[in-house]
């Protein structure tokens, strides 16, 4: 597995994500325009999504990746220039078409292994370096098959790799990327949510609000 292929994949994923979000935003806007004024007034004001901020973040992320490649290859003649040429100048239209063709089941294959707090905790913990099964058991407070139940989907998805000699677990390049993008997505969506509607799942409901509802 080569870093350059991974970076290519990484960039594709980022671009896909960007295009998906852009398409969704456009759809929301179109929906809003289609609705009669009266109907619109009935609903809450949809949250405003600042697309320019989103674009800047993604561009910044891509620039960072590009810089990382340059640093890795610094001193290797003019290889960095060649890599840049090869990776960053794909036809935009082609990329967009590819992204639009991604079916839900393919998205699910990538996203569903991340769909559990325990698995995200494992990925987060492995970012510090490889860990043994025992260390993972201690960290997650899950033992034996209960931990395996969460580890296996991550291994199947290629996000975690197991060293067979000592039963050591490592987070792969894909795993790091998936976790980083999940964090980024969380951050962006939380920012876009109106503050008065967002509440931590375990946060107790305000007693006054509860009482008002009962009345």
């Amino acid at each position: 597995m080569g870093e350059i292929d991974e970076v290519k994949k990484e960039l594709e994923e980022v671009r896909r994500l960007k295009e998906d979000l852009k398409a969704e935003i456009e759809e929301i806007r179109r929906e809003k325009l289609r609705r009669p004024d009266r109907e619109r007034r009935v609903f809450f004001e949809p949250p405003k999504i600042d697309l320019s901020g989103l674009t800047e973040s993604l561009d910044e992320m891509m620039e960072n990746i590009q810089e990382q490649i340059r640093v890795s290859l610094r001193g290797v003649k003019d290889l960095d220039r060649r890599i840049e040429t090869r990776i960053f100048r794909e036809p935009r239209r082609k990329r967009e078409e590819e992204i639009e063709r991604i079916p839900p089941e393919r998205v699910a294959r990538v996203i569903s292994p991340l769909g559990s707090e325990e698995r995200l905790k494992i990925l987060h913990y492995l970012r510090d370096g490889s860990k043994t099964f025992n260390e993972l058991e201690e960290h997650t407070s899950r033992i034996g098959s209960s931990l395996t139940h969460h580890l296996q989907p991550l291994i199947d998805a290629g996000y975690v790799i197991k060293g067979e000699a000592r039963g050591t677990y490592y987070v792969t390049v894909e795993g790091r990327l998936a976790y980083r993008l999940a964090q980024w997505l969380t951050s962006r969506l939380e920012q876009e949510k109106p503050h008065d509607t967002y509440r931590e799942p375990d946060e107790p409901e305000d007693k006054e609000d509860e009482a008002r509802r009962w009345l």
């Binding site: 597995m1 870093e3 290889l79 060649r82 890599i83 067979e164 000699a165 000592r166 490592y170 390049v173």
Partner: protein, 233 residues
């Protein structure tokens, strides 16, 4: 350097044994393997072993961007040469005629002759010199596979190495080398990392220098093992 030669006594393992062991490598030999000592100037420095063995190498490099590589598993059949520290003696008994015949040797002499032939073949164009006695489970294992002589696994406290047809892996502290199936990963002490994958580097100078660079790193690690291993990769 004095010629290495097989001993005169043949022993058989009475239980499975971990011949080589490090953080990233494990080599186990089965019970009922036949072996004889390897002597250099009458000094015991290893063993020629015949019988089933298996290895697992965690050829995984943990880079800043995530782990790359894979575990390699395999069987080592036939004769293999082990040079280094070992607990073989404690897990073995003198081989009986039955033990010898089980692995198709008519008698003790036939095994010693075959062991010496294997030793010569494996050490052809390669010289090894032991500077000091190794700890148990730390040393180098060499074997032939499909006519290729230069298959080797070496391990000590700080280094693990694996050289097999088309594959090279070395973990030596923060220095790592991984070469397999068109992928090359080099990482250095100061966090420098280089990744080369199929068709992605077209710079001939880089490719020309890769072999010597890999070779240098592997050889310097073998020097840490207190071995002199004059081999071209």
């Amino acid at each position: 350097m004095a010629r290495l030669e097989a001993g005169i006594e043949v022993k058989t393992t009475t239980k499975p044994l971990e011949l080589l062991s490090s953080e990233k490598a494990l080599v186990k030999i089965d019970a009922r393997c036949l072996w004889t000592e390897v002597l250099e100037d009458q000094r015991k420095i290893g063993a020629v072993i015949h019988g089933p063995a298996e290895y697992i190498i965690d050829a995984i490099v943990d880079t800043r961007e995530g782990a790359m590589g894979q575990s390699f598993k395999g069987e080592i059949k036939g004769f293999k040469l082990y040079l280094g520290g070992t607990n073989l003696e404690e897990a073995s008994a003198i081989a009986t005629q039955q033990d010898l015949q089980r692995l198709v040797f008519d008698n003790r002499e036939a095994f010693i002759t075959a062991a010496n032939t294997a030793l010569d073949r494996l050490l052809d164009s390669c010289s090894c010199k032991i500077e000091q006695t190794q700890e148990p489970q730390q040393g180098i294992l060499m074997w032939e596979e499909e006519g290729r002589k230069r298959n080797a696994i070496f391990a000590n406290r700080d280094n693990t190495g694996f050289i097999q047809r088309g594959k090279v892996f070395l973990a030596s502290g923060k220095r790592n080398v991984y070469v397999s199936d068109g992928t090359v990963i080099l990482s250095g002490r100061h966090g420098r990392e280089l990744f080369v994958d199929k068709g992605m580097i077209v710079e001939p100078e880089v490719l020309r220098n890769l072999g010597p660079r890999v070779s240098d790193i592997v050889n310097s690690s073998l020097a840490d093992l207190n071995w002199r291993f004059r081999h071209r990769l």
